[in-house]
């Protein structure tokens, strides 16, 4: 069973069993909440404990499993553990500060749930009765709103409107029955601007009671969000309204994003949620045409599903797309807003592109400021290659390693890796391209033969 697995990481990496890796998926599920249900109730007037900095998911590494569905894969994340109690699926969310790494080189004091941002993905089956305890480990009140779930008004989690906000240190109980299957989200509805800018959000997946139509082999859940972390600072700035410089998938910026791995022939579903402050994200997948199969409003009828390569995920909304993994390779998947595939891009800098090299002011500056280097003359990609001192805890304009040198993108960028055969869904490394299927420098003979003059 799953008790040897890391909580929430039960389906990845894993060993391919005799019957292939699919059966194993069903054994996944999540660790139980167990002792975590021994709730931290604080007596009135008792001093509140300082919020702890949590580095990893807390709670026991075991829990009940649910073999009615194939669990979703939350890249860089996990699913929320649960326990069956008299036919009710009981879960526990704890809002708290988390020490979060966006990618190597950039850590920040964020807020999240159960030790992570985004919080663990909640998984249920249509018709399930859920009882979700929410403990507030923040210094300010919070609530949880179950975005897109149709439920009793009093369970909607809107501070002041449908409930009193959960005071710091207190635990509230939400209980409702989930309806239609689909892709939903959860997030605070109290001091939304701050709490969501700090990372408080999570995916909420409702599986169909009886699999019908498209039954995925790989079911990915990705939360899109945007942050402002001043270069060299270590806490997201929730006051920023427009100039976001860290764009994330499941709160990770490339190269920190885990790749999405599938085997040739797998039916793949990708679920996107967007809780960015103000931006919509057109997520583009290379190498595939997919169908947009639904939103947080529900599944689209097959007749209304159009083929696309880019799915626009508006903020405050979800989309899911479906495809068959029929093209092996390493396929880029990213937001198509170019500033959203940059890491900690400064937007108030004077433009140096096209300024002559070795200009006279360069010589003066070298004299006045030892260590000065001219930058940005030929474009920005050179930035990631230059070895020069950077502010502590920052990833300005840095990309990540690729099969062919450096990938100069950052932010909302990940890789869909499809292979003909896999031993596990762990990262298979770089794709090995069949001979003569790779772009390469043209030879003089080729240019001549085709009449190309350069």
């Amino acid at each position: 069973m799953a008790d040897t697995e890391e909580p929430g990481r039960v389906d990845e990496p894993e060993t391919k069993g005799e019957k292939g890796l699919k059966r194993r998926d069903f054994l996944g599920g999540a660790a139980a909440i167990g002792a975590a249900l021994a709730l931290e109730q604080r007596a009135e007037g008792q001093p509140r404990a300082t919020p702890r900095r949590v580095h990893a998911t807390e709670g026991p590494a075991s829990g009940d499993t649910d073999d009615r569905y194939r669990p979703v894969v939350t890249p860089n994340g996990a699913s929320l553990p649960f326990r069956w109690v008299d036919g009710v699926k009981v879960m526990h969310l704890k809002a708290e500060p988390v020490d979060h790494e966006f990618t190597e080189g950039l850590r920040a004091e964020c807020w999240g749930y159960n030790g992570s941002t985004p919080g663990p993905t909640i998984e249920a089956v249509e018709g399930d009765r859920l009882r979700i305890y929410v403990t507030n480990g923040l210094d300010e009140p919070t609530t949880v709103h179950w975005h897109g779930i149709l439920l009793e008004a009093g369970m909607d989690g809107v501070g002041g409107l449908t409930q009193r906000p959960i005071p710091s240190g207190a635990t509230f109980r939400y209980e409702f029955t989930v309806g239609e299957p689909g892709t939903f989200m959860y997030h605070p509805h109290w001091d939304e601007m701050t709490q969501m800018a700090m990372g408080m959000m999570g995916m909420f997946v409702v599986h169909p009671r009886r699999p019908r139509g498209f039954v995925p082999d790989r079911d990915f859940a990705i939360m899109l969000s945007e942050w402002n972390v001043p270069i060299g600072a270590a806490r997201p700035n929730p006051f920023e309204m427009a100039d976001f410089n860290v764009l994330t998938m499941n709160s990770k910026a490339f190269p920190g994003t885990d790749p999405l791995v599938a085997q040739l022939g797998d039916k793949v579903r990708m679920r996107f949620g967007n809780l960015s402050g103000i931006d919509n994200h057109p997520i583009h997948l290379h190498g595939y045409s997919f169908r947009i199969a639904g939103s947080d409003g529900g599944a689209f009828p097959p007749s209304a599903q159009q083929p696309h390569t880019t799915v626009l995920v508006p903020t405050g909304s979800t989309r899911w797309v479906e495809l068959e993994a029929n093209a092996p390779g390493d396929w880029a998947m990213h937001c198509h807003m170019t500033h959203h595939i940059m890491n900690q891009m400064g937007h108030g800098v004077p433009n140096m592109v096209g300024v002559e090299d070795q200009a006279s002011f360069d010589r003066r500056l070298r004299r006045l400021v030892p260590g000065y280097m001219p930058m940005g003359r030929d474009g920005m990609a050179e930035m990631g290659e230059m070895e020069m001192p950077q502010p502590a805890n920052s990833i300005p304009m840095r990309g990540g390693p690729g099969a062919f040198g450096r990938i100069d993108m950052g932010g909302m960028f990940t890789i869909f890796k499809v292979r003909e055969s896999l031993d596990s869904y762990a990262d298979p490394g770089w794709y090995e391209h069949p001979e003569d299927t790779l772009a390469r420098p043209a030879t003089a003979a080729e240019l001549r033969a085709d009449g190309i003059e350069v």
Partner: protein, 464 residues
């Protein structure tokens, strides 16, 4: 009678000794107090450089070198030293009165029938002579001490002018560096505009800022020129010696903190040449009171010899005359000298108060300036350097541009400029402490710092 005459003659001769080499004492005093030597020089030969001065001018000057040149070469100082000769002259005037010789003849048909010859001396003046002489000697002492104080002060003024010039040279360099940051910004703006990245407005703004900074440099250069000229005058160098240089840099003075205030005040009062001079003035006036008293008691007394020839026969006899002080007992002159004495007593007290205050001020200024220099070195300059370093990192991160980088550099330069003023204040305070310890008197705070020419040239008291 004879022996009375002998006594008088002895008195007169005793008063005749020549007052000589009075100014040797000035040199001795200044050497003893501060190690500075101010040799008297012949005005006719001042046109030539003192050999020691010529030697010094070959190397870049330090403060001690400047002082040593000034004390040998400055006509202003020589003029001051020559004033001691005025007191010496007064000593000459305290000499015995000359005898009066009278001759009378009665003519009878082309022949002198009766001939009278008399020689008398003012006995009263002769009796007052020793006391007058002692008063003049006290006045000469006072003049010498005052001259020695002036030598020390002149050395101080030269030292301060030297450091002012050093400071102004530093400021020129720092204003130039600031100007270079503006120039780099303008050039950067032009390059960016050429690449099509910047508006002409930005170029114009950067150019205007650069042009403005050139005025700062020009003004700093003028100030350095002025303070050089002040020093030139204090050094006593004429148009043939204008190409001297000073040593590079402007480091903090060596030596520790000044002694605690009570000890410093005590030393200042004990050593004060001005107080000493005032005490000698006091003595001089009290002796003059004695002189006038004597004159009051014995206003006129003559004694002498009288000879008469009548019909070929000489007859001799003593002669004497005395005024009886019935109406005029010389109260006017006695009252005046006694008033002068009282004034001098009050002045002595006032000068003691002043010298104590100057000592305290010098010490307080030293402590304050040293603290400011330390603050710049240990706090503000490192803080600005950290800003520059972090700005460079942000620039490397392409989060700020060259303009902000240059601004951060400028902030470091600004702090360095302020530090130069603090450093000058420290040097000046340090020279003030040395001066009061040696027995000199620094200028009062806020007062002019330079003497003579230098002061008239609109002398810098560091108030740039």
């Amino acid at each position: 009678m004879r022996c009375d005459l002998a006594l008088l003659a002895g008195l007169a001769l005793a008063s005749c000794t020549t007052p000589q080499a009075a100014t040797r004492d000035v040199a001795g005093l200044t050497v003893a107090r501060s190690g500075v030597e101010a040799p008297r020089r012949d005005p006719g030969r001042m046109d030539e450089l003192h050999p020691a001065v010529a030697e010094r001018l070959r190397e870049p000057l330090d403060a001690d070198g400047a002082v040593s040149i000034a004390l040998r070469q400055s006509p202003e100082l020589q003029a001051r030293l020559a004033q001691v000769d005025l007191a010496v002259a007064e000593l000459w005037s305290a000499r015995p009165p000359n005898p009066e010789v009278e001759m009378e003849a009665l003519m009878d048909g082309g022949q002198a029938s009766v001939l009278e010859v008399g020689a008398v001396m003012d006995i009263g003046a002769l009796l007052r002579m020793p006391l007058m002489r002692r008063a003049a000697q006290a006045q000469l002492d006072s003049a010498e001490l005052e001259a020695a104080a002036d030598v020390l002060r002149y050395a101080y003024d030269t030292r301060v002018a030297f450091h002012r010039y050093q400071a102004d040279l530093q400021l020129v360099e720092l204003y130039r560096a600031a100007m270079e940051t503006f120039l780099a910004a303008w050039e950067a703006a032009e390059s960016m505009a050429e690449a099509g990245n910047l508006r002409q407005l930005d170029v114009a703004q950067n150019r205007a800022a650069y042009e403005r900074s050139r005025i700062d440099v020009a003004q700093a250069e003028l100030r350095a020129l002025m303070s050089r000229e002040q020093l030139q005058v204090l050094l006593g160098l004429d148009g043939r010696q204008t190409d001297w240089a000073v040593i590079d840099g402007f480091e903090a003075p060596g030596g520790g903190e000044p002694p605690p205030a009570p000890a410093l005040e005590r030393t200042a009062v004990d050593h004060s040449l001005v107080l000493n001079a005032q005490q000698r003035t006091l003595v001089a006036w009290s002796r003059r009171v004695g002189v006038e008293r004597m004159r009051g008691a014995l206003p006129e007394a003559h004694a002498g010899l009288f000879a008469e020839r009548e019909e070929g026969e000489w007859s001799f006899g003593p002669a004497a005359g005395v005024a009886i002080p019935v109406f005029d007992q010389n109260q006017g002159a006695i009252g005046e000298t006694r008033a002068r004495l009282r004034i001098a007593q009050h002045e002595l007290l006032q000068k003691a108060i002043r010298i104590r205050s100057l000592a305290r001020r010098a010490r307080a200024t030293w402590l304050n300036a040293a603290e400011r220099v330390r603050f710049y070195d240990e706090t503000l300059l490192p803080a600005r350097a950290e800003v520059l370093e972090q700005t460079l990192l942000q620039y490397n991160a392409m989060n700020v541009g060259v303009f902000q980088l240059l601004q951060a550099r400028r902030a470091v330069i600004d702090a360095a400029r302020e530090r130069v003023e603090a450093m000058f204040d420290l040097w000046r305070a340090s020279a003030q402490v040395e001066l009061v310890v040696a027995g000199g008197e620094p200028p009062a705070m806020g007062g002019p710092d330079m003497s003579g020419e230098a002061m008239n040239a609109g002398g810098g008291d560091g108030g740039h």
